[in-house]
């Protein structure tokens, strides 16, 4: 079966809207529903957060949503069940984002096989070191047709960016600022210089900008410097509004981002 992420990048190179949400939030069984609504509303790519007790790189909004999800009873077995149920109805690529300890405890091989079975196209594991990826994960992921996405930041050296470009099979996640997730200060000139520096490097991988992207304006600005952008915390805040109105919350939020594209 073709990888949906590869297919997306073949047909679309600009203004790719990647939406992150936390599985099991606001209600335990919202996961499948949110995915279908996101696809209907026009998201190009969906990043599913696997809630974790100690998410090192995440700000308060995602931390809290993860805690709510865990309190709701969310776990990985349930997540794979939820995605499997809807996988035949979904054409949007699905990426799972979480921390390496979750994968280790679930069992690396079992985790990757489950991803394949339930139609997951890619992974973001921010604390997976490049050398461990190459020695322990690369072949497994390739065999199962699952892509890996690595992060770069304003402090990542050029040499390392080339190394990350070589190893990325999904996209490069450009962390827009020295930040944890959920800050939204707009995009500065200094950040634009950083995006331009990356663009001059002629990387083979597709690039999406994330961290601090929260509305139509920051999304459109980011899209000028990459293939698209990622919105997480702002979407989670929108889901919190009225927790019974998931469909409306999703379509209103995505509508507000896409109206000016």
């Amino acid at each position: 079966m073709e990888n949906k992420l590869d297919q997306l990048f073949q047909k679309k190179q600009k203004n790719i809207l990647n939406i992150y949400f936390t599985a099991g939030f606001p209600n335990l069984n919202d996961t499948g529903h949110i995915i279908l609504e996101l696809e209907k509303a026009g998201a190009d790519l969906i990043e599913i957060g696997m809630p974790y007790s100690d998410p090192m790189a995440d700000g308060p909004t995602i931390q809290e949503s993860g805690q709510v999800a865990l309190d709701n009873g969310m776990n990985l077995n349930l997540l794979f069940d939820q995605i499997s149920t809807i996988k035949d109805k979904v054409n949007t690529p699905l990426i799972c984002m979480g921390y390496l300890n979750q994968v280790m405890q679930f069992g690396e091989i079992k985790f990757i096989e489950k991803c394949k079975e339930s139609g997951v196209d890619g992974l973001i594991l921010p604390d997976l070191p490049l050398d461990v990826y190459e020695s322990d994960y690369k072949n497994l992921l390739d065999e199962n047709n699952i892509r890996i996405c690595f992060l770069i930041t304003p402090q990542t050296s050029d040499e390392r960016i080339h190394e990350i470009d070589r190893l990325s099979s999904g996209f490069i996640y450009i962390v827009a600022d020295a930040a944890i997730t959920g800050n939204s200060k707009g995009i500065s000139t200094k950040q634009i210089e950083y995006f331009e520096r990356i663009n001059k490097m002629n990387l083979k991988s597709k690039k999406l900008i994330g961290f601090g992207i929260s509305d139509a304006q920051s999304f459109n600005t980011a899209c000028q410097y990459a293939n698209g952008a990622i919105i997480g915390s702002a979407f989670i805040r929108a889901l919190k509004d009225d927790q019974q109105q998931v469909s409306e919350n999703v379509s209103n939020f995505i509508g507000s981002i896409l109206e000016k594209v």
Partner: protein
Amino acid sequence: MTYNINEKGYYGEFGGAFIPEMLYPNVDNLQKSYKEIMYQPDFQEEMKQLLKDYVGRPSPLYFAKRLSEKYKTQIYLKREDLNHTGSHKINNTIGQILLAKKLGKKRIIAETGAGQHGVATATVCALMGMECIVYMGSIDIERQAPNVSRMKMLGAKVIPATSGSQTLKDATNEAIRDWIQHPVETHYIIGSVVGPHPYPDMVARFQAVISEEMKAQLKEQTGNENPNAIIACVGGGSNAAGAFYHYLENEEVQFIAVEAAGHGIHSGESAATSVLGSKGIIHGSRTLLMQTEDGQIIEPYSLSAGLDYPGIGPMHANLIHAGRAEAVSVTDEEALEAAFVLTRMEGIIPALETAHAFAALEKMKFKTQDVVVINLSGRGDKDLATYKKHFETYGK
């Protein structure tokens, strides 16, 4: 077999640096430079001078006569409680603040549980005129109030960690998030032998002065630089790492690592990581940690704020896993009782963390001629409010 770290930053299968990219440049820079910087002659000279004149080293090795009679063995106490600021923590903060200066950093962050590391960090920041921010769990801020006041008096900003169990684990998460957001000017002084490589090794090397002195002092006092056993309490494990360090490859010396069992190992309220933990990743290190089947980190419990950490330093994970160190668990009650025994028999009020090490004496069998060193890692001034509540039970 070596129990020291290998060139890739692992102790056996434990250790490494499992960190998000945002931390990579700082951690990578430290990995490449820490040994070179800390063994430069001028660095060593400045550090040794400060340890001698400012900290008050060497700390005495004291033969505890009455305690030895009670337990029918030869007990020596390595008096880290007599250091400036009242614990071993300052050995590491002196080293790391000098390192931060060499790296050109202007702002210091730290996590703290019992507040001893926070105070030691605030102290060296005052000494060097550097900005200091300390993250501390809300619950710990309450139960270790004297240390919070000390940090504030020293000019540090104490920020409460309000997520999760609101203790040491969460303070560490918040400090890591701060570092992610301030990658250029900030150095993170981790207080224990935890975190991504090179922290476990770097902190162990700064604490190694404990066993370096111990060797010379034992030689002088007993004629033999090797004791039969060394006992130390372990949260993350920095005082134990320092006390074990120069004996790591000397298997004649028995290591006893004492963990906090809280209300009992299987009570659901415990911090006995080596018994309850399994292999996984916490704070950037592959080690033993307390977690659910789903890999969610379990919130630990101990009456002592310095031992309720759900992980254990990778060096200790390896020592225990390989059978080189023996892990002993001590409950809140046993630690309280031991604190009163030491106080009434030797006139030394230990920190509640340290009291756990003394409680292990009740569980071990030593020969009369055995030389046993207990690392007296900290003094108990900060714990008086807790001790006071138990005067009736243990103080008679």
